[in-house]
Symmetry: C2
Subunit: 132 residues, 2 copies
């Protein structure tokens, strides 16, 4: 079967696009990473998620060592083409190198009581110089 593929805009961010792996059943966000054009095409061709590691400077197939591969059943692209969702079936114990199901296992807050509604932090001032 021949299909047309709407390609992400790899030119926008030095050859990479942001990839979110989302559990196709629970809709839990499992991990966020990048991929390059070949990694994207490999994912499309094989149905298994391939990413590009910016720290190691190379492409990697999710689960190539752990066996915890991600079977991709749907691929969504955002309005400006620089971010993509892989809807996946996560094989094995999880997506995270810590063996947790999701890499997002921590809240940035460490509340003393259960959080309710809006955040209650107040930032009085921000004096550090941020260089972007």
């Amino acid at each position: 079967m021949k299909r047309n593929v709407l390609m992400p805009n790899f030119a926008k961010r030095n050859g990479l696009v942001t990839i979110i792996a989302q559990d196709k059943n629970t809709r839990e966000i499992l991990m966020v990473a990048f991929t390059d054009e070949i990694g994207f095409l490999e994912t499309m061709a094989t149905g298994e998620a391939v990413y590009y590691s910016t720290s190691r400077g190379k492409r990697w197939r999710k689960g190539e060592e752990s066996g915890n591969i991600q079977k991709v059943s749907q691929v969504l692209i955002d309005c400006d083409g620089d971010a993509v969702i892989y809807m996946v079936e996560q094989i094995g114990e999880g997506a995270c190198h810590t063996s947790k199901r999701s890499c997002f296992y921590r809240s940035v807050l460490r509340p003393t009581t259960k959080m309710k509604g809006r955040l209650e932090i107040r930032v009085i001032s921000v004096t550090r110089n941020i260089q972007v």
Copy 2:
């Protein structure tokens, strides 16, 4: 109420971290963007999502023009600290500048029939040189 905040690693990617806005009720991914440290702290302080536009080179409060603000009720951080989920209540018609609920309203495939299971694309060869 005083809380300790687990700060993202802004140093890793030139002062920015990836932000995913996820609908707190439906778990739909609404948009992906970046924020800087001040934007993150503003979000934490106000409970409304603030991002940093890399194309415009400045911070922006979601909905500052459209009114479609995002009320942030939970903030999750990933294992290596360079990506964050804002669990949000999306006010107004949607998160996307196209007025759609989510920026991810397109599949990369344009199937002629409903997709089933794994992708069926085959990539014969990739001859373009990719520079990353």
